[in-house]
Structure formats: C-alpha cells, structure tokens
C-alpha cells in the first residue's frame, strides 16, 4: 500500500466503513462497492439516507451506480486525469482547506532546486535513467536536506521497487522539520506551487478529452467534493482494485491522497480514504506478509548487498524522526519472537538468520522464472493463479515446467488440475503424459473449521471460532505450517551444519490439542502481540525495547492481546457501546479506528467544528481525548516544540498529526517511497486506443514489461496494428462469485445465480460487431481468445473521447475449467505488465477485439 503509506505513513485504510455514515459526500471510484463489499456498503446507504451525495465514477453502470446519487462514466485507465482535474479545480478556485493544508501537509516545504517536473521534461521527472528504466530520486528531496540513500529505494539493488511502501522509511530529517518552508505557500519551489504547475493543464476540457466525461459533469463532481469539505463538512473516497490493477495503480491512490489532504479530509470523521480489500484477510496478509520484500509490521526485508549486519540495516531504515525512529525496537523484538533466547546482542539478535533478497521475487517474476526453469517447486495456498493471474494461460504453462507443485485449497481448483484439465490440454498445447510436474493436492479446512483471525479492510482483527471439526484430511493452514516446520526440524535435529541453525533455534513451540494436534491459534496471536521481560503480554508498541528485553511478532499488532485478553474476539454489541464500537474486535494500531485523528482538531487542539468533533486536546486533563483512541502521544501538548536532539516520535511537533512521517506531515509531494514519481501524472494504460494528450511519453516509463513469447503487447493508439484491437477491455467481479471462483463456482447456491461466463457490451458495439444478446462471442488478444455469452446492455454505454466513441468490453473473471459452472478465464487475455512499485498487473484496462460466435475448439492443427 505505498500509495497510502507514503502519503500518510501507514499502508492501510485511514478510516473504517462504519464512519462512512458521517460523510457528506462519498466518491466511490475504482470500486464496485455494492457488489464486492455489500455488507460494508450498508454504511454508504446510511450516509445516503442522511442526505449524503454518493458519486460513483466507473466505466460501467454497476449495482453501485444503481443506488448512487450520481454515476459518472469514465474511460477505463484515465482516472489520474480525472482526479488531477479535481486537484486543479481545487487550486484554481482556491477551495483548499488552507489552515489544514499549511499546518498538516508538506505544501509549504521547499523542494530541491534540481527537481524537474513532467511538465518540463515531456512526461519524465528529473532523475530518469533510460538505460535502467528507473528513477534516481535525489532531486525529489526537500531542499537543504541531507539525502541519505533514497527512502523506499535504498534497499534496491539491481531491480526496482523491492522496498517501496512507506513514507515513514523516507526522508532523513533532523529534528523532524524540513529545512526550508514557506507558510505563505508562495515560494515557487514550495510543494503547493509545484502542485499548481503540475496540474495546471488538467482542466475540465482536458478531463473531457481524456476521460470521456462531459466537462460540466466533471465540474459537478469537483464542486460537490469542494462543497462537502472544510470545517463543517467532510467527504470520503472508497477504492478497490479498480485503482490498483494498473501500471500506475499506486499513483491513482496518491492522487486521491492529494485531494483529501488539500480538502482537509484525512483524520476526520466522515473523511478519509477507504481501501477496500478483496478477501477477508488481505490487509492481514500484508501486515504479517505473504510478500517477499517485507517482514511483519512493514519492516523491510534485508537485502543481500546492502545489509551486512543489523547495525547497517538499522542505519539505512531508521527514520530520525517519527515512529519509524524506533525501527531498532521493532526489529529486535521481532527477532526475539522468532529466535528467543538464541537472539542476543552479541550475535546481532540472529539478524543473519533472516533470508536476504537479491532481486525481484514477486509473483509474476517467479512465474516467468518457472517458465525458464529457474524455480523447481511452488506451494500455492489460498489462491488460484491458473485463473486469477494476468495471462493465466502462460501461468498454467509455467506450472507444467515445475518439478513439484503443492496446492492447498478447499477444492481441486484449476491450479491443481492444470495437468489434465485446462484449455492448453484441450488444445493439445500441453499433453498430460509430457508434464513432469509432481502435483500434491492437500485439502484445506475452511474458516468454520478452525480458530483464527481475519484482519479486514479497515485494519480490524476479528476472531473466528471453530464451529465444526474439519472433514477427513482437511487441515488448517496453521496445522500445515506448524507440523511442516516440526517435521523439518526433526529431520535436521542432528545436523551440525551452520545453515540449519536458523531452523533449529527457531522458537517453534505451540500447544496442540485434539486428535489431529491442532496448534493453538491463540498462542500464535499472543506471540504476535508480544511479551515483556516478565513474560506477560505487552499492551502497546511503545513498550517495545531494542535491547532484547521484549519480543513481538508484529509490532503494529502489539496490544491485541493486552492483559492476556484475546481482543480480536471481543463482540460487545453495537447497542452497548458508542458508534465507534471500540470493543468490537481490535484494530491496529492501538485499536484506533480513524488514523491520524489528531487532524480532526485544529492546530491548537480544538475541534475544527462541533459537527465534525472527534479527537481534541483537553486542557484540564492535559491529554488528548475524544471518540477514538487518539493517534498521538496522549500527553503531547498541541504547542509542543521538539527540543534539539529529539528523536523518533519526540521529534514530531505537537501540531503534526502524521506521526509516522519523518516531518509529521501528510505528503502531497512524495520525495521518496514511490519509484515512478513524486507526483501522480496521467499516463495511458500500457495498451490503449488513445494517445496521451499531455506528453510525448505515452505510458508510465517505469512500468514493468516482459516482452517475450506468450506475453506480447498490442500497439497503442496511432502505431501500426493498433486497429486490430480497437476496444478497451476491463475485468471485474460479481457479487455472486468470489475472485478466481474456488469458493463459489463449486457451491450450488452461488453457481446457479451466475451460471455462465458472460461478456458485457453496449448496444452500439453489439451492432458494430453483429453480437447477439444471449448468444456467444469471442474476445481476442495477442495472448488468447476466449468465449462467453453476450449480455448487451446500456450499462456498458461507450464514452466519447475526442469526438469518437470508445467501446468498453466488460469481463467478469471468475470462470475456469472446474466447478459446477465452467467457462473461459478472462485473465487469459491480459498481458503481464506491472506497476513498478507493487508488481500488480494491469487488468483493468487493455485492448481487445470481439467477434460473434464461439472460439475455435479442439486441438490445434
């Protein structure tokens, strides 16, 4: 979540869904919230009932649009132009929340004089290295600042983007204050003026030309947002993978962050940016990561070249100011949680036991490495890449190159069955007898069959209790990993080999129960929470020490087991507590529901308005107080000025709410932490029917392209051959199914509700291509051709861009060759082309063709 992380300091939604009821205006963009988050959507409906304006900006008219007050149809992949247009509208009409912007954001900060904008360099920022295809961000820094290995990138070796993510890891500021600022916001190199110049060309006319949104419609949205922001009113943004799955996905979110900071909507009730996650515990899977480049709590994964030892690692990753200044305490406590008494100050707390990364080991790079025989085996858990990954056909072929494959899932999904049941086998491109992959399918227990926690979209940990025993050989993930580790440790128990010591010294002692030896999930949660010198559960991450006296499995979760109570398991009904419901589950960090909530008060600590009162300074008690847990040191006065030499959070002044950032400010301009630019700028999708009207540079220059057989791209606007794929295609989910279908296509009650892969097109496109409603059509790209049933609907009306219609083809991506309802996989059509920060695929906008009839079947000649 570097979009949110670099702007505000933490990579999580800044608010919680229940708080949407307090919004005066909600912009839902890059999300089909009613369909994909129907339960949370009740709070949008509540806001609507209270008179809020609900604006849905989307290429399609969806079930969200159906109940919104406004639907604004936009060309897929043009969101930065739209959002940048709003930034320009705010600045042009002086609609920013000036007091908030001056005090709480980096608008007054003066930037290095070497900085050059995309407006100066025709689509590039200064620091572009064409040979490497990456940026050097030296010139993006604050003026007068000691540049100290660029943040977010300083772990980088040869590859890009391994360590992006957190502004907090960013600039090294002495005493928490930027060296040069101009509170009048007039200095030509202050961030505010850079913003003005950068977005000056994002006029309503440009928005109309790029996005296909009539200018007056756009102005209505911009005006609605401005009118519903300020002291008395607040507006919220909600987004999901409609924003992230682009080659500029992180920058989409950054643009929303800029809008919300300018309008003063962060840290306040009814404001914020809600990152809607697609699975029950996706937030949890980055907090305690399944990612290769971070450790629990967003601590960077050490790099082979840069981090010889703990001291060097901490030097490079500790921020002198803000809460990331305690990196040593977080890291040492993590090492203590893992290696216990073996981790001592003398041996760097076993820092050398951590694996090191040497390059890009993200999911797509790994799949390509599998194709090239650089990966022997893979364990696939909780995902179905044979359906869910971009260019899923290539992924299936990659599976066939493995020596072994383990798939743990509820049912035998396509990823487990690729070797005998796949389009490639049907076409004869793969032959079962030729596939050498040894496939192990291990049945998994469902959430009803095991204890554990989910960390949901709003950073809320909620415990689930086992209701029934798992059937047959089905086992929980916890069981699998615990016993796998136990058995491996037993196998190397007698080893004298140095390389086995990390395994042998690992703290791997969890109580088990029952016939199958299920480990105690609560014991794991307690370890994550952490313990103090006396062995008792810690209450807060502020108690963590860097001397080895505390252990903590994930510092941001510290406090979830305070007083030895499983706090995620708390279920006090809403009727028995305040609307914030602090006793329902537990939210990281410190059970805060709205982050950066010190910003709900003015610089003096008083609520900006009675109507939007949330957290404030109580002068009598000399403490911060309010509806929520204050996101601030509770007794730090609003007029606190850090003394010389102050470190970490003590270096953050009493007026600065963004306590994870080195300067305590929300970052309109991001000097480090985002690899493709300090300011979001409009680039066309990798495949687009349109030219970029702003720059000669068509698409994000830093995007990751893998130009190889099986993953060829289409020419874009104007280039020879672009007319072969004249339409825009986009993927999405339906309420009735779940992502790659493993949990829905196999369930009769869900399968019958959406029983066929279908393709949504407008009546105009149907007429142009002779497509018959209810009949079959085939969508094609350089990667694949897939078929589906045709739904002709005005919900897919074309947008007009520069006077001509752009047709968009809608593709739900749930189907595969298995399950009760079977069909083609939309992801087969898309290229692997990635956002450089997070390696996420661009499947929300690409080009295609569509023809009537079924796709060719049977073996290829």
């Amino acid at each position: 979540m570097p979009g949110l992380g670099t702007s505000f300091g933490r990579g999580g939604a800044t608010t919680f869904q229940q708080d949407l009821q307090n919004s005066d205006c909600i912009v839902i963009m890059g999300s089909n919230m009613a369909e994909c988050h129907p339960v949370g959507f009740q709070w949008v409906m509540e806001a609507r009932a209270r008179g809020a304006r609900i604006i849905h900006v989307d290429p399609r008219f969806t079930r969200t649009s159906a109940v919104a007050t406004d639907h604004v149809r936009i060309r897929a992949g043009s969101d930065i132009a739209f959002l940048g247009g709003i930034v320009n509208y705010i600045l042009e009409h002086r609609r920013e929340f000036r007091d908030y912007v001056v005090a709480y954001t980096n608008a007054p900060v003066i930037v290095d004089e070497g900085f050059k904008d995309t407006e100066d360099l025709d689509g590039f920022f200064s620091g572009w290295n064409a040979e490497k295809g990456t940026y050097d961000n030296t010139t993006w820094q604050y003026a007068g600042m000691e540049v100290h290995g660029a943040a977010g990138q300083r772990e980088m070796g040869a590859t890009q983007g391994e360590q992006s993510g957190h502004g907090g890891h960013g600039a090294a500021l002495k005493h928490g204050e930027p060296p040069e600022t101009d509170p009048t916001l007039e200095h030509p190199r202050c961030v505010f003026q850079l913003l003005r110049r950068h977005y000056a060309r994002y006029t309503p006319e440009l928005v109309e030309d790029v996005c296909g949104v009539p200018r007056e419609r756009f102005v209505e949205v911009a005006e609605a947002l401005c009118r519903n922001s300020g002291r008395e009113r607040t507006s919220a943004f909600a987004y999901a993978v409609g924003w992230t799955q682009h080659t500029v996905g992180v920058q989409y979110i950054r643009t929303a962050a800029i809008i919300q900071l300018l309008l003063g909507n962060i840290g306040r009730p009814g404001g914020g940016i809600l990152a809607l996650r697609g699975h029950a515990s996706i937030q949890g899977s980055t907090d305690i990561p399944t990612l290769y480049n971070i450790l629990p709590g967003y601590i960077p994964m050490p790099h082979a070249q840069a981090h010889d030892n703990l001291q060097r690692f901490l030097e490079l990753n500790t921020s002198p100011s803000g809460f990331w200044g305690n990196m040593a305490a977080y890291t040492v406590s993590l090492l203590k949680a893992w290696w216990g008494p073996h981790a001592t100050a003398e041996n760097d707390f076993c820092f050398d036991y951590l694996p090191r990364i040497t390059g890009d080991h993200s999911a797509y790079q790994t799949a390509l490495d599998m194709l090239d025989h650089r990966v022997k085996g893979q364990i696939v858990v909780g995902q179905n890449p044979a359906v869910g990954s971009a260019n899923s056909g290539l992924h299936r072929k990659a599976l066939a190159e493995l020596e072994w494959l383990v798939v743990r899932d509820l049912v035998e999904v396509e990823t487990a069955a690729f070797w005998y049941d796949s389009p490639e086998v049907e076409r004869g491109e793969l032959r079962t007898q030729d596939i050498g992959t040894e496939v192990f399918f291990l049945p998994a227990a469902a959430h009803t069959e095991k204890d554990g926690s989910f960390t949901n979209t709003q950073r809320l940990l909620q415990w689930h209790h086992k209701a029934v025993e798992p059937l047959g050989d089905c086992r929980s993930e916890l069981w699998f990993y615990y016993h796998l580790g136990r058995i491996i440790r037993e196998k190397v128990a007698a080893s004298e080999d140095e390389r086995d010591r990390p395994l042998l010294e690992l703290q791997w002692h969890y109580p088990t129960e029952g016939e199958i030896g299920e480990p105690s999930a609560e014991a794991v949660l307690r370890e994550i929470n952490g313990t103090g010198p006396d062995g008792a559960a810690l209450s807060a991450y502020t108690e963590l020490a860097d001397d080895g006296s505390t252990a903590c499995g994930c510092w941001i979760y510290c406090g979830c087991f305070a007083d030895e109570v499983n706090r995620p398991a708390r279920r006090t009904p809403g009727s028995e507590q305040t609307w914030v419901a602090p006793e329902w589950g537990w939210a990281w960090p410190a059970n805060r529901r709205i982050l950066y909530n010190r910003a709900s008060a003015d610089p003096d600590g008083r609520p900006w308005s009675e109507r939007k009162r949330y957290v404030w300074w109580d002068e009598d008690e000399e403490r911060w107080t309010g509806e929520d847990v204050p996101d601030f040191q509770p007794d730090k006065r609003p007029d606190y000025v850090p003394p010389a030499g102050a470190k970490a959070q003590d270096a953050i002044a009493g007026v600065h709410p963004f306590i994870m950032q080195p300067d305590g400010r929300g970052w309109l301009f991001v000097p480090s932490g985002v690899v493709d630019g300090p300011l979001p700028t409009h680039y066309e999708p990798h495949e687009s029917p349109s030219a970029n009207p702003l720059y000669g540079q068509q698409s994000n220059p830093a995007r990751q392209i893998f130009n190889r057989p099986g993953n060829r791209s289409h020419p874009s606007n104007g280039s020879p051959g672009a007319d072969r794929y004249p339409y825009v295609m986009t993927t999405y989910r339906l309420t009735e199914h779940h992502t790659a279908g493993g949990m829905s296509r196999f369930v009769p009650y869900l399968a019958e509700l959406q029983p066929a892969m279908f393709i949504e097109v407008s009546p105009e496109l149907a007429a142009e291509r002779g497509l018959e409603h209810g009949g079959w059509a085939t969508v094609s790209s350089e990667r694949a051709a897939i078929e589906g049933r045709v739904l002709v609907t005005e919900r897919m009306a074309p947008v007009r861009v520069e006077g001509r219609p752009v047709h968009q083809v809608g593709l739900p991506y749930h189907w595969g060759t298995r399950g009760l309802t079977r069909g083609a996989s939309a992801n087969d059509l898309f290229p692997i082309v990635l956002d450089p920060n997070v390696h996420i695929q661009e499947v929300k906008a690409a080009t295609c063709d569509i023809r009537p009839g079924r796709s060719p079947r049977g073996a290829r000649a």
Binding site: V39, F41, Q42, R63, S65, A751, A756, F758, H773, T793
Partner: protein
C-alpha cells in the same frame, strides 16, 4: 360451508390466546443493491435445492421467478429513464445518465385473503399463529389446487426427484416462532428486507415513502400495504419505484377465491329456486 370458514380474517380468533401480532415483511426496493444474499440465505436455511444452472440473459437475474425452489427472487430491471426527477434530482446533478437499474426481492405475499389456503383440500396450507401462511410439507399431497389459485404465481410443485409437493416461503416459521428474524431479512445488508409486526411495518413504510418521494423518486409507491385491496393486503408488502407490472407483479391482485362466497350464495339460491320450482311444479302437477 359458512362464509367465516372461507374468510381468513377469522384469524386470529382461531388461535385464541396463542395468537400473536401478525408478522410480515416490508421490502423497500429503493435500497436494494441486488446482492441476492436473501436468495442464498433462504436456500441455506430452508434447505431449498439448487434448481438448474440456467443462463437467462435477463440482466443479472438467473433465478427467473419464484417457485418451489426459489422462495426469494431478485428482479433486475434495466430502464432508459433517470432514477430521480424533479428539483431534488437537479440539485443532485441528475446523476445517472438517464438510465436506471431497479432491483427488487420478491417473495410470497402471505395474503390476508389467501386463495391457496382456501382451496387446499388436505389442510396442508395453514395460517400460523403469526398470521403467516405456510404449506405443511408432511401433509401436502401434491394435488396442485393451490398452484393456479395464487394470484401471484408463487406456488409451484417441486419437480425434483418426483417430489411433486408444493413448497414456498414459510416466512421462516421455524425461526419466527422462536422470535428470530427470517433468514433473508437477517442476511440483507441494507435493510431492504425488514421483518416485524405488520402494523409497525405499515407505519414505517408510509414514512419511508414520503421520504423517497421527497428525494425525487417520482414513481415510488407502496404495493400490497392496503387492507382494502383484492387480497386484503399483503403480509409481505413492498415499496416499489415503478409500476408493479415493471417488476412482473400483478397491478391489482385479487384472491381467486374472493367471489366464492357469492358464488356459493348464488348457487345456493339457484339450487333453492330450482327446488322450489320443482316442488311447485310437483305441487302444481298434483293440482
């Protein structure tokens, strides 16, 4: 047959002290998001079978209609007209490209005058102490008389595994008799489906209608709330945003047994007249 026995308003007297306030559904389609959680929750709780993977191409509706195997049915209607009209809509910018997508979760109406109950020869269909109408599956013999009797086409015989009996919404009798909320209402994330005492729901619905009309939904109306209608009012009534027919609902439903008492009276009269004539002719004949 007495008229009282035919007329279902005999309830709640027949339950004496066991009778409870009449319970029902208010389905407010103005907040329905078409998630179909009601359909799934209903099937899960009541163990209603899956009945075919049929792609209908009728918007997002692959359920089609209510029936023995679908006790909730969400309709999806795509219309070329704006969601709101009038001054308020203008203030909201008109909002929606002159297009709207209506969604509505249909269900058995649990009529005050239930023709299905009237015609059931086995007594399988009864009115419960909550005023709801249910088919007792252990009594139903599958005769099917109720199927054409329903003015809404709700009742239907289950043709799976030669079952042949009639199944429909029970308003989750096994839950509601214990004071619980029916599965669909429990699952509905936006309170589009509300369960409660019918009197309270009618008051709530009236207030809700005022609000929705005020908000610019010009075609909004209540459907089935009026005890004076052809079925004596629904136990499960609706707030719709357009004509009932748009949703596939009969505009003026009438209990198919409504005229039976009169018909019986007419028949009795005719029979009497016939008998009298015969008697007279006999008598006259003697004379």
């Amino acid at each position: 047959m007495s008229e009282d026995a035919l007329r279902t308003e005999a309830w709640p007297q027949t339950y004496a002290e066991e009778a409870q306030p009449r319970m029902g559904f208010f389905t407010d389609t103005s907040v329905c998001i078409g998630c179909k959680a009601c359909e799934v929750a209903c099937k899960e709780w009541n163990q209603v079978p899956e009945d075919g993977l049929l792609f209908t191409a009728d918007s997002y509706d692959n359920t089609g209609s209510l029936g023995a195997n679908s006790w909730r049915h969400v309709a999806f209607i795509e219309q070329d007209r704006p969601l709101r009209v009038g001054a308020d809509a203008a203030a909201h910018g008109g909002g929606d490209d002159g297009f709207r997508w209506l969604m509505s979760s249909d269900v058995c109406k649990h009529c005050t005058h239930s023709a299905c109950l009237d015609v059931c020869p086995t007594g399988a269909i009864i009115r419960t102490e909550l005023g709801t109408v249910i088919v007792q599956e252990d009594v139903c013999n599958g005769c099917g008389y109720c199927v054409p009797a329903c003015p809404f086409g709700v009742l239907d015989r289950r043709e799976i595994e030669d079952d042949g009996r009639v199944f429909k919404c029970t308003l989750c009798y096994d839950r509601t008799r214990e004071g619980m909320t029916p599965a669909c209402a429990q699952a509905c994330p936006t309170e589009s489906i509300q369960y409660g005492p019918l009197d309270e729901l009618r008051v709530r619905a009236a207030g809700r209608l005022d609000r929705v009309v005020e908000d610019g939904f010009a075609g909004a109306r209540l459907y089935g709330h009026d005890p004076a209608d052809g079925v004596g009012g629904f136990g499960a009534f609706f707030l719709l945003l357009d004509e009932p027919a748009v949703y596939g609902l009969p505009p003026e439903p009438v209990a198919t047994t409504r005229d039976l008492p009169q018909m019986w009276r007419a028949a009795a009269l005719a029979a009497g007249a016939l008998a009298l004539t015969a008697a007279l002719s006999l008598f006259g004949g003697r004379r």
